[in-house]
Structure formats: C-alpha cells, structure tokens
Amino acid sequence: MGCGGVARFWREIPQRYNLIGNICGSCNKTFFPPKEACPYCRRKSMGKMQDIKFSGKGEIITYTIIHSASENFQKQVPYIMAIIKLNEGPKITAQIVDCDIENIKIGMKVDSTFRKIQEDGYTGAIYYGYKFRPCNVLVTNNEKEKCETK
C-alpha cells in the first residue's frame, strides 16, 4: 500500500472482508463501496442509505492477465484481474483465483472468497480481502447451485 498505515486498511474491513455496500432507500440502487449519498437521488437519499451485504456472486464482464505488477504483487505474477458484475448490480475489480489462465473467459460465473491480498513488506501488516473464483470449482453441488441461481 505504501502510505497510510494500518488504519487506512482497518477502516475498510467491513467492505473488504464482508462485501458490505449500501442501498438507496429512495430509488433502491445498490452501491459498492458504500456511498455517503445516492448520486441520483442526492438530498432525497440523505438518512436513507442502508447497509447491505452482497452475496458475492456475479459474472466476469472483462479481465486481464497481469505480468507487470506493482512491487507488492511481484511474487504473484501472472495473475488474473477482472471486473465482476455482482448479481445485485454493482461492478467490482478483483483478482480471480482457483482458475487456470487458459480457462478464464468473459461471462464466467464467479463467487467471492476470502484471501490474502498483499503484505506491507516483510514485517508489516498482512492485508486480507475478497478475491473471486469460478463457480465450477466449488466443492459441493449445493454450493454450485447457490452460485448459479441468481
């Protein structure tokens, strides 16, 4: 992360660990990360923004395979980054894991998973958060079904 220290990460834990976003009580649009106010309803949404936890299920709308990375991600190359459209609406940028580079494709159904993201040097904090994985690597049929139904 470079600058900001642990507090900068700590205050985003609800979003990064549990995919907490919010919904506008006026127009029902959903947001991730949560917004202070709905950009469409503006002052009508004040006091009406409610936290919600997203299911973590969604679909890949585009992806890339990163070979040239920032310092903290050097050890992970090549890795897949994607934009995922969550079933509830918002789009999100995250890594795709448990998926061979050859198999990744646009339209793939994915589910969120809790992983280590990066660490602040050898002695610094380890940062965790969401990554996504293809639905078909899930272990039980029950999990697969849940992932594939919207």
Binding site: T64, S68, M81, I117, G129
Partner: protein, 388 residues
Amino acid sequence: MRDVAVIGVGLTKFGELWDKSFRHLITEAGSKAIFDSGIGGLEIDAMYVGSMSSGRFIGQEHIGALVADASGFSHLNIPSTRVEGACASGGLAVREGYLSIASGLNDIVVVGGIEKMNDVGGNAATETLATALDQEWEAFFGATLSGVYAMIANRHMYEYGTTRENLAQVAIKNHANGALNPFAQYQREIKMEHVLNAATVAYPLGLFDCSPVTDGAAALVLCSLEKAKKFTEKPVKIIASGQASDSLALHERRDICTLDSTVIAAKKAYKQANITHKDIDLAEVHDCFTIAEICAIEDLGFVKKGEGGKAVEENITTLNGSLPVNTSGGLKSKGHPVGATGVAQIVEIVKQLRGEADKRQVKDAEIGLAHNVGGSGATCIVHILEAI
C-alpha cells in the same frame, strides 16, 4: 471571454535523459517557448505547470514555485501554480492558463508540463502510475494502469470484434510517425511481428502496446489574441477548451469501452468552437495504450463506437489518411512524460498549424484537436486550435 492565442512553443527531447534534471528540463522547454514567442520575459503575468507526481518521482512537491525559481523568475515574484490531474495534468495546466487570459485577469502566461520519471526504477514507476487509479478499490487489489486499459481492450475485442492486429496497427502507425520526429523517444519504425512477439504486460496488451516511461518537458506562451500580433506573425488561436470528469474506477463507468469524459469534453469543445468533428484536420489523442487511441477516435466522434479498430486497419488515421492522428508519434513513440504530455500535444498541433512540422507536415492543416486523458478516463480535456 477574450480570445486567446498560442504565441510560442518549446519542447525538450523526450527519452531516458539521465544527464538532465527536473529543473534543467522545465527551464529548457520554458526558455525555448519564450524565445519562440518573441516576448522578453518581464511581461509574464503568471505561470502554470502540469506535473502528475513529482513527489513520488523525485521527492519534490511545491513545484509551482520551484519552476518559477529555476527559470530565474523568483525575484520578479511571478505567481506560479502547479496543476494536477494525473496523466491529464499538462492539458489542465493549458486550460488554467487559457482561462486566466480569457477572463481578462492576465495578458501573457507561460504554461509548462513536465515529468522526470526515470530517477525511480520500473516497478516504482508502475506503482506511481497506478495512483491515477482508485487506490482503495482497484490498485489495492493488484490492478495496474496497463491492467485497467487491458480490461478495456479485452471487452472491446469481445463486444466489437476488434482484433489483436488492430491494436498492433496503432503502435506501428505511431512509430512510423515518431520516426519522423527528432524529439521522439523512439525514432524507428516497427513491424507487426515486433508487436505480436513482444512480452505481455497485461493480456492482451504487450510491451509495444504501452507508452514508455519518459523524461521530458514542454512549454507554451499564451497571450490574449489582441496583443498576440505584437509578438508573432503566426499566432494560433485556441478556439475551444472542454473538460469533463468521470468515476475514478473503471468498474463504476456506464460502459467499460466508452470514456464518457472524452465524449462530454469533446461535445463541449465542438460547441464552443462552433464546429463538428468533420472540421478537424488532424488530432493528437491520448494513446497511453494502443486501445486508448481506438477508444479516443470513437469517443471524439471521428468514427462510430466499435469501428475504431476498423478505421485503423483502413489507414484513415495515418499521416496521409483522411484524418491524421498522432503525427508526433503519440505517447507510444514520442514518449509519455505524464505531466508534459498534454502540453506537448499542443506543441505538435501548433507546429502543424504553422506549417513547421517538417516531414510530418499535414497539408493545409487549419484546425487541430488535442485530447488528453487522466487515469483510465476519470479526467479528460480537449483543446481545439485554429491557424489564423
């Protein structure tokens, strides 16, 4: 609003300039622009300088004052302001200078743009460029600037059938133009096989799809049009300046393949200039990655959405095409010292409109457009200039 003209331009060589410091570069570009304009120096009312990240690249902030100081203007106490909008910092500095004259506050303004990027290593440069993205919700998870543009490219290929070769053709064209530009970082032509066989940076983009890490500076002298004739025979009028913003993160955009900031900035600029895209004779567009040029020619209205790849294939945008794009070599071949880029684009347009572009000269060029983007499209600025 008063009319504003460019009366002087200056550029340093772009490249890995190990022997030149930040101060040296901006002073060289600034002096060239001042000599070119015919002003003495004492007439300067204000200075604006675009720089994306001097703090991370050379550990120095407060560069508005530094630039005035290094240029020998500290004892004249000329107000000097740094402007920042990631890779669009230079274009924004031009706009601030333009507005300050148009408003009637200033008569003569020097605008500079600079980045000294090679004093840090490649990884640090990648990390610094990623600060143009959303740090908390893109870069934190491992996204890089090239990675984000690669995701635009991949979606563009998926939706519109744009090919890997189309992307490569942008680089080949821009290198062919850069080969004719003595200020360019890379002055050699490349072939399809070079682009396709290069190492992957972020799939589908390879090394030759990416603009390089560059040191360089550019400068302009702007003047109210009424006074411009006192100094030069060939003032070039700024007939429009349009700016727009969008979400910092690519994933929040309405459409992954459209830079709405470009669409809106261009609309505002065409309206102000009272022209359409058909009146543009040449354009310098923000080709930080090959896909960015394809999106730019679509979003500026030159071709329909999705047909940018085809337009490149049909050679519409080559030096002899119906709409020459990036005659300077673009960011790809001329180099991309991020803060300098937006100013350097205007330098190229002015040279073209004055008929001083030598081997790159577009015949009968009268109206030129410069398009400068910050990050993955969170900031966009479009200037239109006309020879008078």
